[in-house]
């Protein structure tokens, strides 16, 4: 198929503000398609989107597959459990086989940083990074920005706290870049052991005190606390983390009335968020999920269907 090659979506780093805004603007169109009686357009008919998940994630994989199918693309899925993705096998060999199956886009998730970029170097197919280790999760940041924009009109001047295990969070890294690029002010809230070893060059402020920060926020973005962090000796116990950094009902009351509560999911009820707070009217967690499909449709369309480079200018012709 004749097409002008587009650039893979590997990270928010390297994108410009107008790249991001273009994707957000386009997402409105795909959002509308999801509300149609038949939520499908033939835009990517004949193209194949392969999800290549070296690290399992049913939710993200389904989100991408739904996005692909709504654009009438074919899907293929390779998961960590299947023998084709056995650990230790040369990733390059694996990817070349998947490409030989006819995949036009590889949506890749891997527990190690940088793999999406390496795969992009090895293959002619386009790559979407669905999460590489602790590095980035660009479509998550895009859907988060889209959700915030939908509720608040613009991110410019918003004060956003990201709370939790920043150190190991690819969502946090991508969000910090995207939110600050769109004009928001970001504060990271976590104990020192859960912050990255060096914040040199990060456009953020930090705080160890969630209670102090909450009343000043427009958005409280909670990260998932994983049990592995306790076994690694990074925090004394889940109980202490919840007591100091969990968004419980008492704390939720100190959050401004028009603030928003976000979470990339899945939530650990009773740890980073109290069950009752998850259904607080200020929570936009479910919106994030549904916006995820629309954002991913926009991304897949820009990569495969639009014939444009993400962010580059090119000749636009209206059909008549």
């Amino acid at each position: 198929m004749n097409s002008i090659p587009s650039r893979s979506l590997l990270s928010i780093e390297g994108m410009t503000k107008s790249d991001i805004e273009e994707i957000l603007d386009l997402t409105d169109t795909f959002d509308e398609i999801g509300r149609r009686p038949i939520p499908k357009v033939p835009a990517l008919r004949g193209r194949t989107v392969a999800t290549v998940f070296f690290e399992n994630s049913t939710r993200t994989r389904l989100s991408f597959e739904t996005a692909a199918r709504r654009l009438s693309a074919d899907t293929m899925s390779f998961g960590a459990g299947s023998s084709s993705l056995s650990k230790g096998e040369s990733i390059r060999d694996t990817v070349e086989v998947i490409e030989a199956y006819g995949a036009d886009v590889l949506v890749v998730r891997h527990p190690a940083a940088g793999i999406a970029q390496r795969i992009d170097n090895w293959t002619d197919a386009l790559v979407v990074n669905a999460g590489d280790g602790c590095h980035e999760h660009p479509t998550q940041a895009l859907l988060d920005a889209y959700t915030l924009r939908k509720h608040k009109g613009s991110l410019n001047g918003l004060r956003i706290a990201i709370v939790g295990d920043i150190r190991h969070s690819r969502v946090a890294r991508s969000d910090v870049l995207a939110f600050t690029m769109l004009g928001a002010e970001v504060v990271l809230v976590a104990p020192p052991t859960l912050l990255p070893p060096s914040l040199e060059g990060w456009p953020v402020t930090i705080s160890y005190d969630l209670d102090e920060v909450l009343p000043t926020l427009d958005v409280c973005y909670l990260l998932r606390m994983q049990n592995e962090r306790i076994s690694e000796g990074l925090i004394p116990s889940v109980r202490e983390y919840t007591a100091d950094y969990g968004l419980n009902i008492k704390r939720a009351a100190t959050l401004p009335k028009d603030a928003l509560i976000c979470h990339p999911g899945p939530t650990n009820r009773g740890i980073e968020i109290e069950a009752a707070v998850a259904s607080d009217p200020r929570s936009v967690i479910l919106d994030q999920v549904s916006n995820g499909v629309s954002i991913r449709m926009a991304v897949l369309f820009l990569l495969l269907g639009s014939g444009r480079n993400l962010g580059a200018t090119s000749e636009l012709e209206g059909g008549q």
Partner: protein, 430 residues
């Protein structure tokens, strides 16, 4: 049959002079003066003639990992890089912790184009638990012991090994050298690059400088306690260099090496996520590189070593986290040293040749002055030629060089091993 090296300028530990060199059948230098003639002549006009290099730190992978390198291919790479002796690291499979494997390595190296000098492990199987049969190995001529690939974690065992080694001096004829890969695993585990601004930005878990420095500090204290001779391998941090500087000022029997990658590359290289830049100890910051160069310049660091670590393409085509650490070094060491160390040529030659020869105890035949009666282990260097690094063109079975595509100035042109010209005009002869 005599071999004459014509038209070159000799630089050795005694100075510089323009002269031809004649070598006899017995592999010894017979004459050093002008206008010499011989049955076989090698052109060295415009070139530097010096003693061949000695690498204190090469992984030749044989026995056990021959898909990455063999003694024969490693030796070829060494000869092309100007080396006449390679000190082979013992983390082979099986490890070099007993006479049988040492003798196997010697036998494999007997006909190779570089002299192969095996080291022994500090502990059986490099398990960090039980001392190797150091006495038996010393009697077989092994003078350096290391668990390289790992540091020895248990301070109590390290002390015992140090004490025990001091009792073997009379059998070896010189002090036994213990060489340490300084890495405290409790701090380094799960860290694949240097922990700092770059690791935070790239999302690759890092290991702090302290993982190396704590062991350097510990071993300096233990040397003070036991009097053993400790050689610190691949120093990479400013803190390590400073500690060794102070320890030497105190007069402790300590030597140290640094690799070419630790004075020419930084952690920024990891931004490509290419595991060719993954190495232990990891590439560090600009400040550390400056400190290593300073250490080389003021004598704190005695030698430039390569830590030549071949890995197959297949094994490096993994994520940064999963790929094995290590990079090639033998064929690029001289050129990178010339371009990136900030040192002048005589200093570089000292660091590549006679100072490591002294540490390895092979000064009787390597790193000599270019003089009559000396063993002819020499290399001839063209300081002006430019060349482009290509991993695929190297003699190694592997191609994991971090300098791929880089244009370098200066290259080894000929190498003479025991009187035989094994490299002529950059081509290996056998």
């Amino acid at each position: 049959m005599s071999l004459v090296i014509r038209g070159g300028t000799i630089i050795d530990s005694e100075g510089e002079k323009k002269a031809d060199v004649a070598i006899g059948d017995d592999g010894l230098i017979t004459e050093v003066s002008s206008n010499l003639k011989g049955e076989e002549e090698i052109d060295a006009s415009g070139c530097i003639v010096t003693s061949g290099f000695v690498d204190l730190h090469s992984h030749l992978r044989e026995p056990g990992q021959e898909d990455a390198e063999t003694i024969e291919t490693g030796a070829r790479g060494g000869a092309l890089g100007g080396y006449t002796a390679l000190i082979a690291m013992p983390n082979t499979t099986p490890a070099m912790d007993c006479l049988a494997v040492i003798e196997q390595v010697r036998a494999l190296g007997e006909k190779s184009v570089c002299e192969i000098i095996p080291t022994g492990t500090m502990t059986v199987g490099r398990n960090g638990e039980q001392m190797s049969p150091m006495g038996e190995l010393v009697d077989a001529g092994v003078g350096i012991f290391t668990d390289d690939g790992n540091g020895l974690q248990d301070p109590r065992l390290m002390r015992r090994i140090m004490e025990y080694s001091t009792g073997l001096t009379h059998r070896l004829g010189r002090p036994v050298v213990l060489a340490q890969h300084c890495e405290v695993e409790a701090l380094s585990s799960g860290g694949y690059m240097h922990e700092g601004a770059w690791s935070s930005r790239l999302g690759i878990p890092g290991q702090p400088a302290e993982a190396e420095e704590l062991m350097v500090s510990r071993d300096i204290a233990l040397v003070r306690l036991t009097g053993a001779h400790m050689h610190f391998q691949h120093l990479s941090t400013a803190g390590s260099v400073e500690m060794v500087r102070l320890a030497k000022q105190e007069g402790l029997p300590i030597t140290a090496e640094a690799t070419t990658h630790h004075f020419s590359l930084t952690d920024e290289s990891c931004a490509s996520y290419d595991p060719v830049f993954k190495v232990h100890p990891p590439l560090r910051t600009d400040q550390d590189v400056i400190a290593v160069r300073k250490g080389l310049s003021d004598g704190t660091i005695d030698a430039i070593a390569t830590d030549h670590a071949p890995h197959t393409d297949h094994s490096k085509e993994k994520s940064f986290d999963e790929a094995p650490p290590g990079m090639l070094g033998l064929e690029t060491a001289f050129s990178v040293s010339l371009e990136d160390s900030g040192l002048d040529l005589p200093q570089i030659l000292a660091l590549l040749s006679w100072r490591p020869a002294a540490i390895a105890g092979v000064l009787d035949r390597h790193g000599n002055t270019v003089s009559i009666g000396a063993k002819a282990n020499l290399c001839v260097i063209d300081p002006d030629i430019t060349w482009t690094v290509s991993g695929n063109l190297m003699a190694s079975r592997s191609s994991n060089t971090p300098y791929e595509g880089r244009r370098l100035r200066g290259r080894v042109r000929h190498t003479i091993q025991s009187g035989e010209a094994v490299v002529i005009d950059g081509e290996i002869q056998r």
